[in-house]
Every structure is written in structure tokens, then in C-alpha cells.
């Protein structure tokens, strides 16, 4: 719409920004302000009168923060890697089928994915128990893979589909075998969708709670960071939890800011937007 900006917009903008920013602010206050201004008061101060690093430093000595974070990293990279390993061929293959069939396959994957997480996680953990995958990095990763796979396939398929059809035919006419056409010509052209799929899978795994909680439960030395954080929250350790939450949230904030322009509705809701 042309013309000047309605001043009313700014009121809405400021209110919404405050609403969405406030939880970050609370986390910041708990982590960086001496406890006598936060938990020491009935109504914690809303502004930092004094900044300290001792909450964070002490927490690092008091609880094992690094272990769960490292396990989360391992799990997230396995989930992201496996998503590409399965998702790239699948995205390519599905993109080559007729639109009608490929849309059905994608829709099928997404509908399957609507199964309630807890309902699926419980039997999976029982299977994994007999396969000795319970409480393991690989077990958590294999369970979380289920959550990210449909979206990965969809995003990568979109990338392949947007390539000109002639490209591959020309390479074939020139006598290049399918495998080298794929690796040398097609893959570099879909690197952006592949990267987005990887980042989204990585982030989903990093944040995921339900599967991790059921497959690698409670024991904080065995779990990923969301499960360990849950453990500290229920043990009423707010400072340690805040430190944990802060450290675990910083990488995601960076990722979202850097890749913000790729976070589009039609990517994130998958095949459901035509």
C-alpha cells in the first residue's frame, strides 16, 4: 500500500516486540543479575541494577553442563547427516516422478508424521531397548530422525524440481553416467535447499524433548540438553537451569538470525502448501 505509515502500526509493533522479547529478558535477568535482586525479592527487579558473571561461572562448577551439550551436538549432527543421506536421494527420486504421484508421497509422509510423538516414542523405546539402543546417542538420533525426515525430503525435492529439465538430459546426451551427472552438476545446484534442510533438521534435533526423554530418560549424564535441563528445572535449580538454557539457546539464536531469509512458511509447513 502506498503512502505514509500509520502511527497506529508503531503501537502494535512495540507491543508485539515487547511481548516476544520479554521471555528473553527474563532469562537474561536470571542469568546475569545477582540473586538478591531476582529470587531474593518477592517481585524480582525488571531492570539490571548490577551485572554479574558469578551465576553462570558457579553453575558450570555445580552441574555437568558440557556433557549433555556435547551429546546434543553429536545427536544433532547425526540427525542432520542422516537426514541428508536419506533425503537427497529421496528428494531427487520423488522430484522425477509425476507431480501427482510425488505430491501424494509427500502428503503421505506428512500425514504419517502427525502421529502423536509420545504414542510413537513409547514403543520405539521398547524396540530400542531390545536392540541396546536405549540411552545412546544413536538411539536418540534415530528416533528424532523420524520428526525431521518428511520436511527434509520436501525441501530437497523442491530444489530438484525447480531445476530445468533439460539440464540432466543434456548431460545424458553428452554421455555422462547418472552418478556423475548427479554429483557434479545437480548437487551443487541444490546446495541451498540442502543447507536449509540440514539446518532445520539440526535445530529440530537440538530442541527436541519428547523422543529424547523417552529413549534416553532421566539419567542426566546420559541425556541430551533438553532432558538434562528438564531434570535441573524439576530439581529446583533455577540458576543452573538458566545458565544451561542460555548456553543452549545462543547457537539457535545465531542460526535463526543468519538463516532468517530462508525461513518461509511454504518451507516450514511442508507439502501442505501447494
Amino acid at each position: 500500500m502506498p503512502g505514509k505509515t500509520n502511527p497506529l502500526i508503531y503501537i502494535v509493533v512495540v507491543l508485539l516486540a515487547l511481548l516476544f522479547f520479554y521471555p528473553f529478558w527474563v532469562l537474561f535477568l536470571i542469568a546475569f543479575v545477582p540473586t538478591r535482586f531476582t529470587f531474593g525479592l518477592i517481585y524480582p527487579l525488571q531492570f539490571p541494577l548490577e551485572i554479574t558473571l558469578s551465576n553462570i561461572v558457579n553453575s558450570f562448577y555445580q552441574v555437568d553442563l558440557l556433557g549433555p551439550l556435547i551429546r546434543s551436538l553429536e545427536v544433532a549432527f547425526i540427525v542432520g547427516g542422516l537426514a541428508l543421506l536419506l533425503g537427497i536421494p529421496a528428494g531427487y527420486g520423488i522430484a522425477k516422478l509425476t507431480t501427482r504421484i510425488s505430491n501424494r508421497i509427500i502428503a503421505f509422509l506428512f500425514i504419517i508424521n502427525m502421529m502423536p510423538g509420545l504414542v510413537i516414542a513409547i514403543p520405539i523405546s521398547l524396540y530400542f531397548y531390545s536392540a541396546h539402543l536405549e540411552n545412546t546417542v544413536l538411539g536418540v538420533a534415530l528416533a528424532q530422525e523420524l520428526v525431521v525426515l518428511p520436511l527434509t525430503v520436501f525441501i530437497i525435492m523442491g530444489g530438484f524440481r525447480s531445476l530445468p529439465r533439460d539440464l540432466e538430459n543434456q548431460a545424458r546426451v553428452d554421455g555422462a553416467p547418472l552418478s556423475s551427472t548427479f554429483a557434479r552438476i545437480l548437487l551443487p545446484l541444490v546446495r541451498v535447499p540442502i543447507l536449509i534442510a540440514f539446518i532445520l533438521s539440526w535445530m529440530t534435533s537440538w530442541d527436541e524433548f519428547t523422543y529424547a526423554f523417552i529413549v534416553a530418560p532421566i539419567v542426566p549424564t546420559d541425556s541430551t540438553f533438553p532432558v538434562a535441563l528438564y531434570n535441573y528445572v524439576t530439581r529446583d535449580l533455577p540458576l543452573q537451569s538458566a545458565t544451561f538454557a542460555l548456553v543452549a539457546t545462543i547457537p539457535v539464536i545465531i542460526l535463526v538470525v543468519v538463516f532468517q531469509k530462508y525461513l518461509k512458511g511454504q518451507y516450514l509447513s511442508g507439502g501442505l502448501i501447494g
Binding site: T5, I9, P23, Y43, A90, M115, T249, V256
Partner: protein
């Protein structure tokens, strides 16, 4: 992007060796998803009908005494409430983002970043905001001259805290979906309507709403299903009182003796989610699959 997904490449189709090959490429991923979701689902449903190795409806007959009806009701209240809150906030964000204003880049970062926040981090922060005595929300209220509120004073207010707290992580996705729909409306349409004398309200109901109606139904499907699945947030904020379906399932799962009860409750949740998906697809999104 959109045009690539709309099927105008449709032509007469013959299955060839090449198509089988392409399908084989996709097979591992499809098999993985089926293997790790359909089989577990079947296992749960099957187990729920077994008592000492025999078919029985016993697990279902005792479910009500474990709080089934209340937990279904609570799940529905939380889901519907949370969806409404998220849709309204998301619509406000998407409409604001359509306009040019100073600081729009920073604004969109602020409202989108929570998308990446872990549910458990969000649950932890909101548990600090909403505490009965003191807490940050009451701090704000008192500073503004209001009386502090006892947030966890009844089941309804407990559920209210859960449904509100869910907005932070999940509104960004809805906003992005709706924004995609709004940005596809041609600005000339609004201009033409203005010239014809349509007011802001009538432009909203006659142009904006119809344009984003299909996207609202998609957001309802995507978010609605996850809403029925919320688990970490109620677990941290309200524990097992009042129960929602997921906490009922988990509570009984964690004790070996009541595990069959949790299978029956999980089956109930499965049926509710399937019924909801079919309902939303029928009224809104079905044409997406008709191609």
C-alpha cells in the same frame, strides 16, 4: 516458488524402468518413516487390547477412573485456546510485516527468533514468569499498579497459563505461514478497493481473509496436531494436575504396572488426532491433495 509446485506437468503416464529406479531412490526414506511410525502405532493399539495375552477391553473400561474424560476435556481446552491465541498474534504480526516501517528488520528478527527456542527452555522461562508468589509477571503487574494474580489457582487458570505460554515458540511459524499468504495478495487489489470506497474493515473481510483462509486451515492442521501433542510445557508448568492426555499417558507409562493403561490412553489420543486431521482436511485443505 509456488508455481513449481502446482501440477501443470501432468501428462499421460506410463510406468517405465526409470520410474521404478526413481522410486527406489525414495524408498529408504519412505521405509524409514513407515517403519518407525506405523509399526509403533500398531504396537500401541494392539497392546492396548491385551490383558495377560488375551484380547480384552479391560484397559479401556478402567480408563475413566484414571481421569480420561477430564484429560480429554483439558487437552481440547488447551489446544483450542492456544490455537486461537497463536492465530490472532500471528495475524497481527503478518499484517504489520506487510507495511513498511522503521525498524521492521529488527522487529521481524525479534518475533521469529523464538521459533528456534527449545520447548523446554520456553517452559522453564514461563515457569519463572508465572509463579504464584512473586514472579516476573506479577512484578510487571505490581509495577504498573495492579494487584498480583495467583496464576495457579484453579484447573482453568492452570490450563490458561499453559495455553498462553505456548504462544512464544509457536506463533512465529503461524506468522510465517500467514505472511506467505498475505504477500501473495496484489497491492493493486487493495488500492482498487480503496478507490471504490471500501473501508479498512471491509478490505480486511473481503480481501485479506479470503486470501489467507486456505493458509489458516493449513496452520490449523500443522499447529493443531502439534497442539494435541504438547507434553514438555504442561509437564514443567503444571505437572500432572490438571491432567492432559499426554501427561496421563506418560504418568501411567512410567509405572510398569499401569503401562497397559497408557497404551489405551495413547490409542485414544491417536484417534482424536486422526479425527481432527481428517476434519481439517475435509473443510479446508482437501483440495491440496485433489491434484
Amino acid at each position: 516458488m509456488d508455481s513449481e509446485f502446482s501440477g501443470n506437468r501432468e501428462k499421460r503416464f506410463k510406468i517405465t524402468g526409470r520410474h521404478v529406479l526413481y522410486f527406489l531412490f525414495a524408498l529408504p526414506a519412505i521405509a524409514y518413516v513407515i517403519g518407525l511410525s506405523i509399526f509403533p502405532a500398531i504396537t500401541v493399539v494392539y497392546q492396548s487390547f491385551l490383558v495377560a495375552g488375551k484380547f480384552s477391553l479391560y484397559n479401556y473400561s478402567v480408563l475413566p477412573s484414571y481421569g480420561l474424560y477430564a484429560s480429554i476435556e483439558n487437552t481440547l481446552i488447551v489446544s483450542v485456546g492456544a490455537l486461537l491465541i497463536q492465530l490472532m498474534l500471528a495475524l497481527a504480526i503478518a499484517m504489520v510485516m506487510m507495511k513498511p516501517f522503521a525498524g521492521s528488520k529488527i522487529f521481524s528478527s525479534i518475533v521469529i527468533i523464538p521459533f528456534g527456542i527449545s520447548t523446554i527452555v520456553s517452559a522453564f522461562i514461563f515457569s519463572l514468569i508465572f509463579t504464584n508468589v512473586g514472579g516476573f509477571a506479577n512484578g510487571v503487574l505490581v509495577a504498573l499498579g495492579f494487584k498480583p494474580v495467583i496464576w495457579f489457582s484453579s484447573s482453568i487458570s492452570d490450563l490458561g497459563v499453559v495455553m498462553f505460554s505456548d504462544f512464544w515458540k509457536n506463533t512465529p511459524l503461524v506468522a510465517l505461514i500467514l505472511y506467505g499468504g498475505l504477500s501473495s495478495v496484489s497491492p493493486t487489489l487493495y488500492e482498487a478497493a480503496s478507490v471504490d470506497g471500501a473501508g479498512a474493515l471491509s478490505r480486511f473481510t473481503h480481501i485479506t481473509l479470503p486470501a489467507i483462509a486456505p493458509l489458516i486451515s493449513i496452520a490449523l492442521l500443522v499447529r493443531g496436531v502439534s497442539e494435541f501433542n504438547i507434553f514438555a510445557l504442561p509437564l514443567v508448568l503444571i505437572g500432572y494436575h490438571p491432567l492432559i492426555l499426554n501427561t496421563l499417558i506418560y504418568e501411567n507409562y512410567s509405572t510398569l504396572a499401569t503401562r497397559p493403561i497408557s497404551y489405551a490412553a495413547a490409542t485414544v489420543l491417536l484417534i482424536i488426532i486422526m479425527a481432527y486431521s481428517i476434519f481439517v482436511l475435509k473443510i479446508g485443505g482437501a483440495k491440496q491433495y485433489a491434484r
